[in-house]
């Protein structure tokens, strides 16, 4: 499913002293089955942006197109619900929203609400748990007995249970330790490979965006300030610095080596071993001006 934003603006608290423009004339496109990262500081408008895709917020002006459906200021609730049934959204700290008595019930909450074949989905739950890295023996347990990391995985599984065509991730790794961050990100990458949803990930960690996304939007002050493939974005180091955004450590290191030695790496996704190999060959060929 494609998602398109055409001249979308959003005003919070309209006609009060607190009126703020949270989105300013946004034009953006999220291609079917692609992975896009939306990056920006806290308060830049990125959460507001994605909440338009499942109608949690409605545009004050402009149109959001999701598949064949149009979401506008005047769109009826029934229509919004139809669109919503195609969209899954993992919020920040999703484990804070668990409430059912058992893991199984929580996983079935979404499918039930969205009128899906619950019996069918129930059969697949053990597999789903495995996909998020949990044991199927947890199904009958209370989610509140689990560890923080396990709770987050249950909450994520609860969103994936409806197998959404559009998957929105709002800082899914926030607050986890590095190992946990890596695992959760891998979980989503595997899911992406298997089911090909249109994935949109909000993050303020460039590393994550670099590892996962093929396209990037950079937001600041309610506007999209930059867009393009990650490599192209990182090339504009100064512009990013103006927005107080850091390029990934890996890119920083490789760029620093380039500046100091005159070598040119083919791209910045090189693993440490590949980068070392590349350097070794370049030195042998005399392609490194200052060793």
């Amino acid at each position: 499913m494609d998602v398109n934003f055409q001249n979308v603006s959003h005003v919070y608290m309209k006609k009060t002293p607190f009126e703020t423009l949270a989105l300013k004339n946004i034009n953006a496109c999220f291609r079917s089955s692609s992975v896009t990262a939306v990056i920006g500081r806290t308060g830049s408008g990125k959460s507001t942006l994605v909440q338009h895709i499942n109608g949690l917020l409605k545009p004050s002006a402009g149109v959001v197109t999701v598949g064949g459906h149009r979401l506008e200021a005047r769109t009826k609730r029934k229509m919004v619900k139809t669109v919503r049934s195609h969209v899954g959204m993992v919020f920040q700290y999703p484990e804070h929203q668990l409430f059912e008595e058992t893991v199984e019930k929580d996983l079935l909450f979404g499918p039930k609400n969205k009128g899906m074949d619950v019996a069918e989905i129930q059969k697949k739950l053990p597999e789903l748990l495995q996909q998020v890295g949990l044991s199927e023996t947890l199904l009958e347990r209370s989610p509140f007995e689990l560890s923080g990391g396990q709770m987050r995985r249950v909450a994520i599984a609860g969103v994936l249970a409806t197998n959404p065509e559009i998957l929105i991730l709002d800082e899914p790794t926030a607050g986890l330790d590095p190992q946990g961050q890596k695992e959760i990100l891998e979980l989503f990458m595997n899911w992406q490979r298997a089911y090909q949803p249109t994935t949109i990930m909000i993050t303020h960690q460039m590393e994550e965006a670099a590892a996962f996304a093929e396209y990037m939007y950079v937001m600041e002050d309610a506007e999209i300030k930059m867009q393009g493939e990650p490599e192209a974005i990182y090339a504009q180091r100064e512009k990013l610095q103006e927005m107080d955004l850091d390029i990934p450590e890996q890119v920083q290191v490789l760029q620093q080596i380039e500046r100091d030695s005159g070598i040119r790496f083919p791209h910045y996704k090189l693993s440490p071993a590949e980068a070392a190999d590349y350097w070794e060959h370049a030195v042998q060929n005399g392609d490194v001006p200052y060793v």
Binding site: Y12, M13, T16, F18, T20, Q51, N54, L56, K81, R84, S85, V87, G88, M89, F91, P94, H96, Q97, L98, F99, F109, G110, K112, N113, K114, F144, G158, V159, T162
Partner: protein, 265 residues
């Protein structure tokens, strides 16, 4: 939804009333509540009305906020008026509708009671509109502190109130977040049968409570780590300052009370 929460109905400002000591304001409102029940003449209500208008100009609060605050009691006021109009049978009959007769005294009593209620709500609204909840808490704590001798925990109650006030926005933000998350999973908080709604409500309440307990635990640790040990030996940063406005207000209110006594029939 809850981006900018106004706690209670306090409206920040710089008016005469805003600058007054909350203790003076509370005392004044209490005094007014008492004397309003002594007023029984048209002249008395006229004077009270004039005072209300004067205080309105001292408050700097836009009229629509006062109207909004008073709207819910209107129904109550109208109801009391008719109760009195129907059931008081004194004085001359003014007019009759079917089997009902309206007596002069009934209408009079009805109007008086309605005015009392309206003025009462009006003055308390102005108090809460011009005093922040924290100032109110501080003032109440001080006014009740003499009761500590009788084992009334004024200090602890005030601490609890101020923490409650502090966490209202947190709770609202969290509620909004959970509503959004459950909505995104297809829950509907505005539609469906009674049972569906109850379930939607549970899906909201459970995580709210779980988080609240967690927060309380963290908060207890944080307070203990910063040496919180109850009220004993504690000093306070917040200081209530009694100024010329407050003395003036008290004198005026006392004079007002005396004049009202003379206007009694």
């Amino acid at each position: 939804m809850f981006e900018n929460v106004i706690i209670g109905q306090y409206l920040p400002g710089r008016s005469f009333l805003h600058h007054m000591d909350p203790r003076a304001k509370i005392a004044a409102v209490l005094f007014l509540i008492i004397v309003i029940f002594l007023v029984n003449s048209w002249n008395g209500y006229a004077l009270f009305g004039a005072a209300a208008i004067a205080v309105y100009f001292l408050s700097g609060v836009p009229f629509r906020y006062i109207r909004k605050g008073m709207f819910p009691v209107f129904i109550l006021v109208i109801l009391t008026f008719f109760l009195h109009a129907f059931f008081t049978r004194e004085g001359d009959i003014l007019f009759s509708v079917g089997v009902f007769s309206f007596y002069e005294e009934g209408i009079r009593q009805g109007l008086f009671i309605s005015l009392r209620l309206l003025l009462l709500v009006y003055f308390t609204s102005l108090l809460t509109l011009t005093t922040s909840p924290i100032d109110l808490t501080d003032a109440l704590e001080q006014m009740f502190s003499p009761l500590e001798r009788f084992k009334f925990p004024a200090y602890d109650v005030a601490m609890m109130m101020s923490i409650a006030i502090r966490f209202i926005p947190t709770l609202l933000q969290e509620t909004e977040k959970i509503i959004k998350a459950q909505t995104a999973r297809g829950a509907d908080f505005n539609k469906g049968s009674m049972r569906d709604r109850m379930q939607a409500f549970v899906s909201l309440l459970v995580p709210l409570f779980v988080r609240a307990f967690r927060r309380a635990e963290d908060l207890a640790y944080a307070m203990e780590a910063r040496g919180y040990n109850g009220g004993e030996g504690r000093t306070k940063l917040r200081l209530l300052v009694w100024g010329w406005r407050d003395t003036l207000c008290c004198v005026l209110i006392a004079a007002f009370g005396v004049v009202l006594l003379f206007l009694r029939q």
